[in-house]
Each structure stands twice: as structure tokens, then as C-alpha cells.
């Protein structure tokens, strides 16, 4: 069930948070051996939090829609007294002395942390094929990856091992697993949610995001997480958004941009068919469809990698010198590549980044949101290094990040919602993005589409 369905029952005392937590742990115990979605399960602590929630609600201290709701956090969110590994052998025994701001805010909202979720090592990759903690498996097909780097968070939610989950997105790490696992994923505007206590990957690209079963749930979670934070210089001053999602899924007056360039090139045929059908659904809902061109977007995907490489290497510089043998081969290769990017090129890439933001801001004078596929492919198999699209072979990591990475450069709010299944029964994601800090507009468009299409109600048979 979604948060929106559970919360009224909890508020009215019809559903016990303790019973909900117990049901969640029963599912975790059944599915964790197959999926390996979690690194640390926090049963005792979570049941105590659930009991506290129940006491508070019974005595009239209901905190809001997340009160008593079980969630999981990617294992790079600092949790006081609980190991936070960042998916790394090097940090396997690291126990933070404080909570990340996101964790603290969810505690204040009364949410119950049930587990720390698996991730690609140091959040630097899209497979979640972690050499230290084992691969996370996709609940739609356990031979396939869940996407990453927040793959454990997405897989756990898709399998019902929590009711929502936290992730982080530096080059698509929320949206890719949302697409591959058939759940809703939101990467808000850069600075919208504090990154304090979140193990970094790329300082100018990292965003905190989250996964949910519906757009309405994603909006509720955003309201709890967003807002200024004196502990994080990059956190914006804007107050949390109030997102009003109408029950009637009409989009009259909304102008929806559909790129004529780049975003619809080299797609798996089932992905293109599903996304074109989604565009048709927006038209049916009353939106005006406008073809747009996002100028030089391919450059920004390349430059996003050029910026991330030295930023990540800077984060791990000392480990690269002293702990090479303890870093997985794929992450080590990227960290080594980051040593070759000159400061002049890094700074010029940051200069061109401003051009991208201006280009997008001009487009948002013409349209309210832009829709594209989230990923050009559905989930590859575990260990599959390349994919075939239209007779061309492409590196799986580059293919998965091809349509998402530039939007980390732009910092704009971006949502992935399920929009179909391919011929193998694997989920397909639709990406919706809008002007900076217009999460409300992006969520309204996604909510209307979701209400009309119903794709988010599909669950994996597991």
C-alpha cells in the first residue's frame, strides 16, 4: 500500500505502526536472501520506533502522514550509532556519531527506519554489482540489475520491503533504478534537500532524492525532507514546497515539451513505444504538446562525466593512495581516470554548465515541463557490460546514464514514473523535468499521468 493509503488508517488508529513494521520485517526476512537489497536490517530499533509512534498517536500526538511509515535509507546516509558503509569494504565498520539531516527530518516526521540499503560501491556506478556486499537483484527478474547507484533502495521498495526509501543522484542514481525497478523516483532541485551527513561522490552534482509507489507519496516525502539547513552551505533557502495534487487528472493549459533531438535517439523499440504512448496520454489529458530542441545536450552529458571524474577522485584521493586493493575494479578505474582531468578543463566544463542552465531556462519560458525516456534501455542482466540498441553496441553504464546525467549538470527537478513494461515484462521509465524549484509543477504533471495510466500500480510477482 502507498503512504497516502496507509496514513489515514494509522491516524485513525485502524492500523498499528507496530503491526505494519512486523509485516514489513516478515517480507524482509522472506525476500532479502533472494534480492540482497539491504546491507543492515534494523529490526529491534525499528520496532521500538514503531512502538513509540503507536504511543504518540494513541495519545493524540499525530505528527503527519509519515508517522509510523517504514522506510529504508541508502547506506551512505549517516545514521548515529549504526554502521554506514557507502557500499565500501574500507568503510564497513564506520559508525557515524550523528544523523544526516534527511534522517533527522524523517525521524521528526515519525517515519520508522527499517534498514540501510545496498548501493554501488561509493555510489559510483549503475549496476549495484557490489564486490564487497554482493549484487542487489531486480525483483522483476532476479538475473538482472536493479540499476544504481541507489539500487537497494529501489529494489526494496519494488519488493515491498519498505513503504518508501531514500537515495542519492549524482548522474542518474535515483532515476535509473526507479526506471529499472518500476517505481517513482524524484531527484529534486540542487539544494532543495540538505546533503549534510550524506557521503559525497561529486560535490557540485550530488542530490538527495527518494523513491515511492506513487507521485503523491513522493510529494509527501519531499515536504518532510526539503528546506534550509545551516549545516549545509549548498542547501537552498527556499521553504519546503506545498504540493497540491488535484484528484481530477486534467492537464488543460499545461505545455509539455518533447525534445526532437537527442532524447529519442538510440532507444530500445519497446521504450520508444511506451514513451510515445505516454506523450499521447498527456495530450489526451488536455496538455499541449510542443516539440523543443535542447541545444547541445550531448555536450553536457560528456561534460558531466568530465566534472564528476575529478570531483570523485578528490573525495577518494587518500584512499586511492593507501587502499587501492580494497576498492572494486570498476570504481578504481573511474577514480584513476579522474586523476587525468586538468583543472583548466574542469573549470571550463563548469563554465559551459551555466550555458546549459540558461538553455533550459529559455525552454521553460515556452513549456512547463519536458518529458523524455528515463533510460533508453530496460534493466540489463547482472554482469552484462554492453547492450545492443538498433544494431549498435554500447557500454551499459553509458547507455543507462545517457538521458539523465545532463540534468544533474542543470540541477533541475526531475521525476521518473513507470510508463510501461517491455516484451520481457521489465519496467520502463518516463522522465519529467521542469524549471528549478518547480517540483510542484513536475509532480502535478506526473500525478495526472499516473492517475490516467495506472502503470505505478503494477507490482513484480515475487
Amino acid at each position: 500500500m502507498t503512504i497516502s493509503e496507509l496514513a489515514p488508517q494509522i491516524r485513525e488508529g485502524k492500523l498499528s505502526p507496530v503491526e505494519l513494521a512486523r509485516e514489513t520485517f516478515a517480507r524482509i526476512h522472506r525476500l532479502q536472501p533472494a534480492l540482497n537489497a539491504y546491507i543492515t536490517v534494523l529490526e529491534e530499533q525499528a520496532l521500538e520506533q514503531a512502538r513509540q509512534a503507536e504511543r504518540e498517536i494513541r495519545t493524540g500526538h499525530y505528527r503527519g502522514p509519515l508517522h509510523g511509515i517504514p522506510y529504508a535509507a541508502k547506506d551512505l546516509f549517516y545514521t548515529k550509532g549504526v554502521a554506514t558503509t557507502a557500499g565500501s569494504k574500507i568503510l564497513k565498520d564506520f559508525v557515524p556519531g550523528y544523523d544526516a539531516t534527511a534522517i533527522e527530518r524523517l525521524r521528526e516526521a515519525g517515519a520508522v527506519l527499517v534498514a540501510k540499503a545496498g548501493l554501488h560501491e561509493f555510489a559510483y556506478g549503475i549496476t549495484n554489482n557490489n564486490p564487497h556486499f554482493g549484487p542487489v537483484r531486480n525483483p522483476w527478474d532476479q538475473a538482472r540489475i536493479p540499476g544504481g547507484s541507489s539500487g537497494g533502495s529501489a529494489a526494496a521498495l519494488a519488493a515491498g520491503m519498505c513503504t518508501f526509501s531514500l537515495g542519492s543522484d549524482t548522474g542518474g542514481s535515483v532515476r535509473i533504478p526507479a526506471s529499472f525497478c518500476g517505481v517513482v523516483g524524484l531527484k529534486p532541485t540542487f539544494g532543495r534537500i540538505s546533503r549534510y551527513g550524506v557521503f559525497p561522490l561529486g560535490h557540485t552534482l550530488d542530490h538527495v532524492g527518494h523513491f515511492a509507489w506513487s507521485v503523491a507519496d513522493a510529494a509527501l516525502i519531499l515536504e518532510a525532507l526539503a528546506g534550509p539547513d545551516p549545516n549545509d552551505d549548498s542547501a537552498a533557502a527556499e521553504p519546503p514546497p506545498k504540493v497540491d495534487l488535484p484528484a481530477d487528472p486534467k492537464l488543460s493549459g499545461l505545455r509539455v515539451g518533447v525534445p526532437g533531438n537527442y532524447f529519442f535517439e538510440r532507444l530500445e523499440p519497446d521504450v520508444e513505444k511506451a514513451v510515445r504512448a505516454a506523450v499521447g496520454k498527456f495530450r489526451d489529458l488536455g496538455a499541449e504538446i510542443v516539440e523543443v530542441e535542447v541545444a547541445e545536450i550531448e555536450d553536457f552529458t560528456v561534460l558531466g562525466r568530465l566534472i564528476l571524474l575529478p570531483e570523485a577522485t578528490s573525495v577518494h584521493r587518500s584512499r586511492l593512495k593507501t587502499r587501492r586493493a580494497d576498492i572494486g575494479a570498476d570504481v578504481l578505474a573511474l577514480l584513476d581516470q579522474g586523476q587525468f582531468v586538468p583543472a583548466t578543463d574542469y573549470l571550463d566544463a563548469q563554465r559551459r554548465r551555466r550555458e546549459l542552465i540558461r538553455t533550459l531556462n529559455r525552454l521553460f519560458d515556452q513549456v512547463n515541463v519536458i518529458v523524455t525516456p528515463t533510460t533508453p534501455i530496460t534493466a540489463p542482466k547482472i554482469g552484462q557490460g554492453t547492450v545492443e540498441i538498433g544494431g549498435r553496441t554500447e557500454d551499459a553504464r553509458l547507455a543507462a546514464t545517457r538521458l539523465v546525467r545532463a540534468l544533474n549538470m542543470a540541477g533541475v527537478p526531475t521525476l521518473s514514473v513507470p510508463c510501461g513494461l517491455d516484451s520481457r515484462g521489465l519496467p520502463i521509465g518516463l522522465q519529467i523535468f521542469g524549471r528549478a524549484f518547480d517540483e510542484a509543477g513536475v509532480l502535478r504533471a506526473g500525478h495526472a499521468y499516473e492517475q490516467a495510466s495506472g502503470w505505478n500500480r503494477r507490482r513484480p510477482q515475487i
Binding site: S234, D336, D345, R351, R352, R353
Partner: protein, 57 residues
């Protein structure tokens, strides 16, 4: 080329690892050079940036 750069920078990347990452570096730079090949001297780098404030100069 990457071997020369690595030596000049004093990096301690094992030769087989350097060989393994060289194709990726070649591919990255073929795209990046094209993307950076313009006069950007009047634009400040966005090392900290606020997307909502970005407007035409």
C-alpha cells in the same frame, strides 16, 4: 600518451591498469575537446551554482 602524462604527474597507477583505462580516457577526451572548444573566458565557472538564478548576461 596517458603513460607519459602519468609519469609527468608522478601518478602511481600500475601499467596494466593504465592500459585498461586508456581507451576510456581516449573516448572521453574526443567528446570533451569538442565540447570545450570555444571562448569561455567571460563566463564564470559554476563551482557553486543556483539554477534558479541563472539568466542571460
Amino acid at each position: 600518451m596517458w603513460k607519459t602524462i602519468s609519469q609527468a604527474m608522478g601518478l602511481t597507477i600500475p601499467p596494466e591498469q593504465l592500459e585498461a583505462i586508456s581507451p576510456a580516457l581516449d573516448a572521453l577526451w574526443s567528446g570533451a575537446r569538442r565540447a570545450l572548444d570555444r571562448d569561455l573566458s567571460t563566463v564564470d565557472p559554476a563551482v557553486t551554482f543556483r539554477p534558479e538564478l541563472e539568466v542571460e548576461p
